[in-house]
Amino acid sequence: MKNLLDNPYLALLVRVFVGLLFVVSSLEKIVDPAAFAQSIANYKMVPEWLVSLAATILPWLELLCGFSVLFGALTRGSSFLLSAMLVVFTLAVIVALARGLDISCGCFTQDPTAGKIGWLKILQNATLIVLTLFLYFSNSESFTLLQLLQKSNPGSDQPH
């Protein structure tokens, strides 16, 4: 297990996949926050003022975390936030399913024809939770922005 967490290539692969996924999925929500707000409201779990606030901030948080994971900067914080968000989203989907709501997920696209929530969505989210937790516990600092900066300026971390 420790070998896996230290593997720089696996960490890079997961970072690129998770990072790109959240960057791309956040863009549609940023462009059309009203549609995203409607997706959140459909779950009927949070008050109206919180729906508007979440629709305003969450897409940007996804975008920042996506870029952060992609470039390997603030990876610990961004993977922690992504894991937390995914857990909350998954719980929301489970509760909505249990209440018999027939709604679109609003997770990665706001297109209502993209598919309704279901157990497949929970499985997808569970997989993403595993990947973000992997990034949280990963010790690899290879192929990150920090490493790139240190390589381009090797004397910067030497004592003066």
Binding site: I30, D32, P33, A34, F36, A37, Q38, N42, K44, S52, L53, A55, T56, I57, L58, P59, W60, L61, L63, L64, C65, S68, L74, R76, G77, S78, S79, F80, L81, L101, D102, I103, P112, T113, Y136, F137
Partner: protein, 159 residues
């Protein structure tokens, strides 16, 4: 523990930046929570009454009497999979393009808008658009497709 503290510190930074970007962007573009309220827009148009909602029984009576046209606000893919018998499809998102299917209906004819059911608002939004376009007699069947199917009422599918 050090890892967790580091994560919390970084998460705090990310949340603060996301809050700032989100609030600045949506207020600058007047989107989302900073969009002008549709209610205030409607309030300026005092000539447009609010469409009223009808129950499944009322919808069924009007269906049986043939005195109303049912208009389905859902996406055409959902419509083709099944809809209230005789209903016309005007998907909300393509309203301006698809409203031509209503061109043969007199403006004072009774129109009943519906969508998936109580979990969607498309029927409400569609009925407001119809009234803005001059249809005087619009009702909303808010129980929609789901209530209709649950009651085993007449449906049809697109071939």
């Amino acid at each position: 523990m050090i890892r967790f503290k580091e994560a919390l510190r970084e998460a705090g930074i990310l949340i603060l930046v996301a809050c700032a970007l989100g609030l600045v962007y949506t207020s600058a573009t007047e989107k989302g929570m900073f969009a002008r309220s549709p209610r205030s827009k409607t309030a300026q148009r005092t000539d447009i009454p609010t469409p009223s909602m009808i129950s499944r029984n009322e919808a069924k009576s009007l269906f049986d009497s043939g005195s109303a046209v049912f208009v389905d606000a859902r996406h055409d893919i959902d419509f083709n999979l099944g809809h209230i018998q005789g209903a016309l499809n005007v998907p909300l998102k393509d309203y301006d393009v698809k409203k031509s299917v209503l061109s043969g209906i007199p403006k004072d004819h009774l129109i009943i808008a519906y969508c998936d059911g109580s979990e969607c608002n498309s029927s409400i939004e569609l009925s407001v658009k119809l009234m803005k376009d001059g249809y005087k007699n619009v009702r909303i069947f808010f129980g929609g497709w789901r209530e209709w199917v649950d009651a085993n009422l007449p449906i049809e599918r697109q071939p």
